[in-house]
């Protein structure tokens, strides 16, 4: 236990992605809280958001390992990587 750290508690300020989506962390899209009045958005500490994201990546890695010994990517073939505009 390393004690209280404000950065672990308080999420960064959101930036708007679309009319309906905001983003606080890279690759993590959130519904605009203004669109959530029937079901209210929870306040989540930053560490809890990152825990859920890490857990998701662990799950996907587990699923890869479950289905095959190795994952081949286009980058391994020398023709991968994200497309510059994609």
């Amino acid at each position: 236990m390393i004690g209280f750290r404000l950065s672990a508690q308080k999420p960064p300020e959101a930036r708007r992605i679309t009319d309906d989506v905001i983003q606080r962390f890279e690759h993590i899209y959130e519904v605009d809280p203004a669109k959530m009045t029937i079901i209210e958005q929870q306040d989540m500490p930053a560490w809890d958001t990152m825990r859920i994201v890490d857990s998701r990546w662990e799950h996907l890695a587990w699923m890869h390992d479950h289905w095959a010994d190795a994952v081949l990517t286009a980058e391994d073939l020398g023709e991968g990587g994200p497309h510059p505009d994609g």
Partner: protein
């Protein structure tokens, strides 16, 4: 008209004698939790479909005794496996006894010489494959419910597998099975005789008669399954396109590649991308020129997959696709094995978020008809969304549907969110009409209503006689012959007509 009798204390005592006290559940929670499946359900009438009790057998003999008792007393019996179905096969329309088979989850034999595994119907594929991994083999049946559905339900629905293009679907991967008939006899069915025989010309092909039975012809109590070598390598590639038409043409080129290691090809339409982009499910990049996506996946030995992957990349690009990158390709593909982990919420036309359950239409449509069906399905959905205010179009996928030759027809899916809390006797008929119009389009285009879920819901079921034509009369005769008292999952597939009844699926 309901010809069934209520369950009395004497019957409960007899069931406890067969199954033990812990094998008979009469509590409210146990019964209410086994009333429905994820498919949209008339929640405003939930109480009308609660089973009278639940039994949890461990052996085929116990199942047989339960069914004999039910047949004698004219009590409806509904088998239930994982309860993950996107149709109503496991839903007790006439109450009665739900036979929950999840305690029949043993691995009985692993035969590495003749390449089979024999299991109880209550085992889950993920758990089975964890055990099989130590032998370097697997049972490659891969539904969206892979972590939570059970082998018995896969047989009951004649399931579809995400990687069926390489390994086949449930009907191809289940070699034979044991089933308790509605009168209690225990029989083995396969491709002819022989529990581990894959191909036979002896007699009728009874495995295929009972495959997809939806609980209307018996209860599966054991299955012998195919084993394949555990894949050495997986490769997934996602491409994006400037239009649906471009993506559809590329889908055809990829599916017809002839690569034996090709597990499947998946086409995402513009509505699906719009849905994925609008909130936290989004993996798909946002530029406006990304209008449709095609996903492919390969499985096999390293020697197969590496050259096949180069060819897939070449075909994808030459047919107009732009590679979406390794992170999306491998990450999103891994998530396709587990779609039930997706939190379900939808949007009103104001953009407001509301909880919604998931309707997944699953017609089989020929490749040539996909664009026209897509247009009609979205138009129908938009019309009823406007009328009811409780529907949300979540877009369409088309998945290669053929086993080993994945190019002729597609599991064609439109996902629709439905705000169940707002269902009522006023708007339920609108939902059913929407469903029926969607299914009718599939038939109008020479397709089948359902590739993998079954068509036991109102809105589907009444079109089964239309789709089956003269074959439906044969279904009625088979049902009446095997189930003389209509105890096995009554009310499904319009099979009540075999007994002179003509009821709506939901009252």
């Amino acid at each position: 008209m309901n010809t069934f009798v209520a369950i009395g204390d004497t019957v409960v005592d007899e069931l406890r004698a067969i199954l033990g006290d812990e094998g008979v559940l009469i509590g409210k929670a146990a019964r209410y939790n086994r009333t429905r499946v994820p498919a949209p359900f008339p929640v405003h009438r939930w109480a009308e479909y609660v089973p009278d009790l639940v039994v949890l057998p461990r052996t085929a003999e116990q199942v047989s005794e339960v069914v004999k008792l039910a047949n004698r007393e004219r009590i409806p019996v509904v088998p239930r496996a994982g309860g993950t179905g996107l149709n109503d096969g496991a839903l007790p329309l006439k109450r009665g006894i739900v036979v929950d088979i999840k305690r029949m989850n043993q691995i009985k034999e692993v035969d590495l010489v003749d390449r089979t595994v024999t299991v109880g119907p209550g085992i889950n594929m993920l758990k089975l494959n964890e055990e099989l991994r130590k032998h370097n083999v697997m049972f490659p049946d891969d539904p969206a419910s892979y972590p939570c559905s059970l082998v018995g339900g896969r047989i009951g629905t004649s399931g579809w597998s995400l990687i069926g293009g390489r390994y086949g679907h449930t009907r191809d991967l289940v070699i034979s099975f044991q089933i308790v008939l509605p009168t209690g006899e225990i029989i083995e069915v396969g491709d002819g005789g022989g529990r581990k025989i894959r191909k036979s010309s002896s007699g009728f092909q009874l495995k295929h008669l009972f495959m997809g039975h939806q609980g209307t012809l018996g209860i599966v109590t054991e299955a012998t399954l195919e084993l394949v070598p555990r894949p050495e390598m997986e490769f997934a590639a996602f491409f994006h396109y400037p239009s649906y038409t471009a993506a559809w043409e590329s889908t055809g080129a990829l599916a017809k590649s002839g690569l034996a290691s090709l597990g499947g090809v998946v086409l995402f339409d513009e509505y699906k991308l719009r849905y994925l982009r609008r909130d936290d499910e989004a993996y798909i990049p946002r530029p406006d020129h990304v209008r449709a996506v095609v996903a492919t996946a390969l499985y096999g030995t390293r020697d197969e997959v590496e050259p096949a992957a180069r060819r897939i990349m070449r075909i994808g690009r030459e047919s107009g696709g732009t590679y979406l990158g390794d992170e999306i390709s491998s990450g999103d593909w891994a998530s396709r094995h587990d779609r039930y982990a997706t939190p379900l919420h939808g949007r009103l036309d104001t953009g407001e978020v509301v909880p919604m359950s998931w309707h997944c239409e699953d017609a089989s449509i020929n490749y040539s008809q996909l664009p026209a069906v897509m247009e009609k399905w979205h138009a129908i959905t938009a019309r009823y969304a406007e009328k009811t205010g409780i529907l949300d179009d979540w877009g369409m996928f088309a998945y290669t549907n053929g086993a080993y030759k994945p190019w002729g027809d597609y599991l064609t899916e439109i996902d629709i969110g439905i705000w169940e809390q707002k269902l009522s006797d006023d708007n339920w008929p609108d939902w059913v009409a929407c469903k029926r119009e969607i299914a009718q389009v599939a038939l109008d285009h020479g397709g089948s209503i359902t590739a993998c879920h079954g068509a036991t819901r109102e809105g589907d079921a009444e079109l089964i006689p239309v789709e089956m034509g003269g074959g439906f009369d044969v279904m009625l005769k088979i049902k009446a012959a095997l189930d003389p008292n209509n105890i096995m999952n009554p009310g499904k597939y319009e099979l009540d007509r075999a007994y002179g009844l003509d009821e709506k699926v939901f009252r």
